[in-house]
Structures are given as C-alpha cells and as structure tokens.
C-alpha cells in the first residue's frame, strides 16, 4: 500500500506526525513478520459527540518538533516491552472530520500478551505525554479545548502537576 521508502524510513520502531489522512492498511503493512503470531492495529477516530453534545469536527494542534521526538521515544519504549522492533505509529494533526483516524498504532510479536501490552502502552503514553491539543467543534458553532492531562517532567510524578489556567 505504501510506496517503497528509503531504508531509514523503513526502520522500525517508527513514529511520525502527519497532516494528511492516515491509511490503516499501510500501518498494518509495516508490522507483522514470519516469526510473529500476533498483530494488533489500534485506530483512534473522531467521535460525533462529547459530553452529550453533537460534534462536527476536531482540530489537532501539536508542538510538532517536540511531538515527533516524544512519539518516537514512546514507540521505542513500546518495542522494548514488546521484544520486537515491530511498532509503527502515525498521529495526524490539523483539521479532522468525524470518523477520520487521528492515530494508528501497529505492533506485532510472537505472542499476543506482549502485543496487547505494547499497543496499550503506546496509546496511554500518547495521552499522557504527547504535546498535542484537541479543539472540539460543536454543531452550532462554538468550540473548546478538550480537557487534558498536565505534563510532568520525567521523575517528578504526580506531586507537581502543573495546573491549567485558573
């Protein structure tokens, strides 16, 4: 599905931030191997409602240079847990319509336990650490920033949780 890329782009684990639509089949094609018995693909998609209100679309804003670094670090941590390098992650930013894929996570490994664990690790760490923000557009015209998770420097834990604007 994806055109042959140069070696460095084919190397796994691999994480990228994109602004064009994500092709789930291309993410799936990056993982899987003769020695693997389990392949898992997670897709995050834009929902048509939030807190009981109809949503018309979502704008994803990112601190793109930092987000690329953080996403690659998460993919590498997941590969270490997985025991194979076969982790491919794509996160989309900018304007997304209802039903569109905002994030795709592909992993594969000899056994399913680790595949489920690594897949879950990636999405949880994305929500905890990736410098990305969602602007939710409601049907009717108003919009809001989706409430998020305060970022905490490594080693600080929950004690110093940066507050939002009061």
């Amino acid at each position: 599905m994806s055109a042959p890329a140069e070696r460095s782009e084919d190397a796994l684990p691999r994480a990228v931030i994109v602004s064009s639509p994500i092709d789930p089949a291309a993410v799936l094609a990056r993982v899987g191997h003769r020695s693997d018995g389990a392949v898992l693909l997670f897709l995050g998609t834009v929902r048509d409602h939030a807190d009981g209100r109809p949503v018309s679309g979502m704008t994803y804003e990112a601190y793109e240079t930092m987000a690329a670094d953080v996403l690659q670090a998460i993919a590498e941590e997941a590969a270490a847990r997985l025991g194979t390098p076969r982790v491919a992650v794509v996160h989309r930013v900018r304007e997304l319509a209802i039903g569109e894929v905002s994030v795709a996570i592909g992993v594969s490994s000899p056994h399913r336990d680790r595949a489920y664990d690594a897949s879950r690790y990636v999405i949880e760490e994305i929500k905890r650490r990736l410098p990305v923000w969602k602007h939710e557009h409601f049907v009717g015209g108003d919009a809001r920033w989706v409430e998020g998770e305060p970022l905490v420097p490594v080693g600080e834990g929950a004690a110093r949780r940066a507050g939002g604007i009061r």
Binding site: Y60, T65, R129
Partner: protein
C-alpha cells in the same frame, strides 16, 4: 540574553500570540522566565504560576538554567490520541 517563548492551544488563546522573544539576565532559569512574564500583567498574568514548560523540546523543572537562543514552550495539559 535572548530566548524564544512559544505558546500553544489554550495558552496561545490566553496570551494572544504564538511566540515572543524575551530578553533575560544571564543565569536566569525557566522559573525566572515565568515570573518575568507574569509580571508583565494582563494577559500574561493569566498563565499559571507553574505551567508545564519544555526547554528545547524537553520537559524541564523550574530550576532549569536558560542559555541564549533557547526555545521555551508553554504547554497546556495535553489531549492527543
């Protein structure tokens, strides 16, 4: 020394700008920068006292030392995925 500050998402909406060049005394820390900025008054005093800050794309604590040319980003609570 000059450092470049960036504001994202809700913080950008609060301060009304995406980036600001600041002139700070040598030896200033990230915490000093936050205090300096909030002392400018509205709208900067509406930033939190201890926001999450990335220094050159890495999250740091308030005691991190700044150098000329650094990129200091103010990061609201995140909501990726």
């Amino acid at each position: 020394m000059q450092v470049r500050t960036l504001f994202f998402a809700a913080y950008r909406d609060t301060v009304g700008t995406t980036a600001l060049e600041l002139d700070l005394p040598e030896g200033a820390t990230v915490g000093d920068l936050v205090v300096h900025l909030r002392r400018r008054g509205a709208p900067f005093d509406r930033l939190p006292e201890a926001p999450a800050v990335a220094l050159n794309r890495t999250l740091v604590r308030g005691d991190a030392a700044l150098a000329a040319g650094d990129e200091v980003a103010f990061l609201p609570p995140v909501a990726g995925g």
